[in-house]
Structures are given as structure tokens and as C-alpha cells.
Amino acid sequence: MATSRKAEDAIRDTEGASEPVVAPVAVSDQLMLVLDGFEGPLDMLLALGREQKVDLTRISILELADQYLAFVAEARKVRLELAADYLVMAAWLAYLKSRLLLPALEDEEPSGEDMAAALAFQLQRLEAMKEAAAKLFTRHRLGHDVFARGAPEDIDIRRKSVYEVTLYDLLRAYGEHRKRREGGVLHIAPIRLYSMEDAVRRLSGLLGHMPDWATLASFLPGEEGGPLLTRSAMAAHFAATLELAKAGRVELRQDGAFTPLYVRSARHDRDGDAGGE
């Protein structure tokens, strides 16, 4: 299903950002996946609500909740990943539905009806703002429909604005300053841990000096680096002994689980060093 694939990707891309979100719309019974930017779950509820083709003041919240929950169920069936706030809304609507359908318990505040009314109000308010925004942008706008003097003459009769600096300039400057200070240049501090390469190099140097079984711990560097460095040194030296054993340069022995690990030079190294046995 090519469309859902695209929708899925789009949702994943915008997840966390919350806007614009791509989501399917349920039209009558059939779930249709359309690529359309929804500005979050409330926006989507509003779109679903418009399909009831009634005045928003007379909208059926129960029906709306059903539509939304059906959409979420369908969306999950086709393994569509939904942004978290869509799921939060679904959970809230499922709760609201249960409150509307079940007999009200005493002392429960707010009532299911209150919650439904609050949601209806939110939808109306959002709708009102969308309409207001549309009306605002159909007005004759400066620089688009109506024009100012194209060639203003250099007569600044308001002395106080000799310097053209706006609050935006000021805040922008401070923002940029902070940005520079906070991380204009990203310095990644070197990670001071013992690497296996370090340990191999170190143990190789010590090879001649460990003809007899000795605990691995005795070869570890001192603790001046702090606990984290000591732990990493332990891990690195352990890995290094395995690496050296594989190369036939050391022998390893452990008497039981969690007991000290012993290490000594492999025979030929000892031979070379001690003149034979």
C-alpha cells in the first residue's frame, strides 16, 4: 500500500515535532489515507468533526470519539506509527467515552458531560481562530495589496529612532551571543579511557617480566586515574590478554568462576628470555 508507506514515513519524520503531522482521515466507513498536514490531534478532531456536517455547538462528542478511536485502531492495524500526542488524545477520548456511557459515580469531578463540553469548546475556539486567521489574511495587506511610499525621503522626523534597532535585533543579537557561547564550536573532550590497544601495548612490554603465573590484577596500572579509568583498564587488560593468548604469546589460567585470572608468558617467550628450561 504505497500511500500508507508514504504516510508512515511522513509521520515518522515529523514525530516529536508535532507539526505538520500527516494522518489519515476516516471518511464515512472507509479509512482513507490522505497526505494532509494536520496540526496535531485537536486539529484532526476538528477535521473529523466537520464531517458530521453540523454546527460545532451541536456536535456529537461521542460520535467524534468513536471516529477518532476507529481511526487510531485502523492506523495501528496497518502498523502506522502515530505521534505520541495522537495516542494521548486517543486514551483521553476512550476515557471520556467510558465516562459518557457508564452511569456517573458520585463525587466524580468533572462529569463526563463537563469534559465533553470542554472538548466541544476547544474545537469551537480552534475553529474560530482558523477562521479569524483566514479572514485576517484576506485583508488588504501592506506590501501586497496596498503600498507605502516606494521612495521615502531621508527625513527622519522622529529623532528617537536615529538608530534603526528593533527589539527583534536586540534579542536576536543576544540569542546569537548565547548560541556562540553555548556551542558555536563543539569541543568534544577526549575520552580518557583505557583502550585495548593501549593494554596490548602495555602488556607486550611486560611480557618478559612475567615468567610465572601472576594475577592479571597485579599488572594493572595504579588507581590515580580514578575509578572509571581503573574499571576501563581492567576491561581493556582482560581483552588484551585474550588477544595475546590467541596470538600464542601468553597463557591464561582461571581456577573457577569469578576467581582471579592468572597470566604468564607463553613458553617460547620465556625460552627466549630465560635461555630455555
Binding site: A17, S18, E19, P20, G37, E39, G40, P41, L42, D43, D85, V88, M89, W92, M115, A118, L119, F121, Q122, Q124, R125, L126, A128, M129, K130, E131, A132, A133, K135, L136, F137, R139, H140, R141, L142, G143, H144, D145, V146, F147, A148, R149, P152, E153, I155, I157, R158, T166, L167, Y168, L171
Partner: protein, 207 residues
């Protein structure tokens, strides 16, 4: 409104003032307030402005009052002949347009309230863009816990949309009467009810 003057000297003085007023307003691309104009022209500026407005009303350039000031603007009915390719609003996202409307109708309004109305978190850059256009600015902090910053529209917003005052916003009275300009968050647990309190106390207001 237009006082009859017969004394020739008075007539001449008046004409001189009208010409100066005309020139001052013409020279400036931005609206000029009456106070500024009065300082240059004289105390009878309001009457002179009305006279100029009447003179220019039928012409291709009109004298308009927007926000806090007066300015010459091309006549609105010529818009179809003058209209230029949209640049500004093309770049404006739906989120930005909606957010601007919410700031305009609900001001002063906090970011959390904007988010409660829209039901989503405001992405970074939305308020930034509106501020860059010079349409919104920070208003007073709300004296509630966390002292959140509020946002309000600017005079330039009024100028841009050709509004004399905020009362001239489309349908504003109807919306207010219908109770739809209540910006309180209404549903707890519903998206976008971000806490208004900044994560850390504002560092710079200890005095």
C-alpha cells in the same frame, strides 16, 4: 470640521501647514503619530489631517490611520491592479498564520495558552518568524506562578493589515460575545498544556 477662514493671511498660513503636513507624511514610509506631526506643524494637526484625508479620499493614494499613526497608502480598491506576487505569506506556515491570529485575538497571551488553543506544542521558529516580520513582540509577564512571558501584536501588525485599532479585527466582537476569546486551557491532560514556567528561573531579573 473644516473651519471657514477668510482672512487672507490665515488662509495662507493654513495652506502652508497643509503642504508641510503633506510633505512630512509623504516623505516617510512609516506611519507618523499626531504628536510628532504636531511638534512640526502645530496644534491644529488633527483638523488638518482630516482635511488632507478628505482631499485624498477619492484619489489613487489615500491618507490612512493605522495603529498609532498616519500614513499615505495606495488606495485599497487598486489592489487588483497593483498586487504583487505573494512572497511573505507563502513562506508563512499554517502554524505561523494560526499563531498570529491567536496572538492578535487573545493578547496578551502566553505560549502555553497558544498551545492549549491549538492543541499542539509550538515549534521553534514560529514566534521567531512572526517577530521577525515585526508583527508580534513580548508583552508584560503574567503575574502568575512562573511569571510567563506574554505576547502581543505591534503597531506594525495593524499597519500591515490596515487596521486602525485592535477593535477592527474581523469579527472580534462576535467572538468575544460567544466567549471564544477565553484563552484558558480547558482540558487537563490534553496535548499542548505545556507548563509556562521556564525550565530555569530567568537568570537576569533578580534586581
Amino acid at each position: 470640521m473644516i473651519k471657514e477662514v477668510t482672512n487672507p493671511e490665515e488662509v495662507e498660513a493654513r495652506i502652508g501647514k497643509l503642504r508641510l503636513l503633506e510633505a512630512l507624511l509623504f516623505a516617510s514610509a512609516d506611519p507618523l503619530d499626531e504628536e510628532t506631526l504636531a511638534a512640526r506643524v502645530g496644534p491644529d494637526v488633527p483638523a488638518l489631517l482630516e482635511e488632507l484625508r478628505a482631499h485624498y479620499a477619492p484619489r489613487g493614494v489615500n491618507l490612512a490611520r493605522t495603529g498609532a499613526g498616519w500614513s499615505f497608502r495606495t488606495a485599497a480598491d487598486l489592489a487588483p491592479l497593483l498586487r504583487q506576487e505573494e512572497e511573505v505569506s507563502k513562506k508563512l506556515s499554517r502554524a505561523a498564520i494560526e499563531t498570529l491570529a491567536i496572538v492578535a485575538y487573545h493578547q496578551p497571551v502566553t505560549r502555553a495558552e497558544i498551545e492549549a488553543i491549538r492543541g499542539v506544542t509550538t515549534s521553534k521558529g514560529t514566534l521567531d518568524i512572526l517577530m521577525e516580520h515585526g508583527w508580534i513582540r513580548p508583552g508584560r509577564r503574567r503575574e502568575t506562578p512562573g511569571r510567563p512571558l506574554t505576547w502581543v501584536t505591534t503597531d506594525h501588525f495593524l499597519d500591515h493589515f490596515g487596521l486602525e485599532t485592535l477593535r477592527d479585527l474581523p469579527s472580534v466582537e462576535d467572538l468575544r460575545a460567544a466567549g471564544l476569546l477565553d484563552s484558558r486551557p480547558v482540558l487537563l491532560g490534553l496535548g499542548g498544556l505545556a507548563d509556562d514556567a521556564p525550565a530555569a528561573p530567568a537568570p537576569d531579573d533578580e534586581d
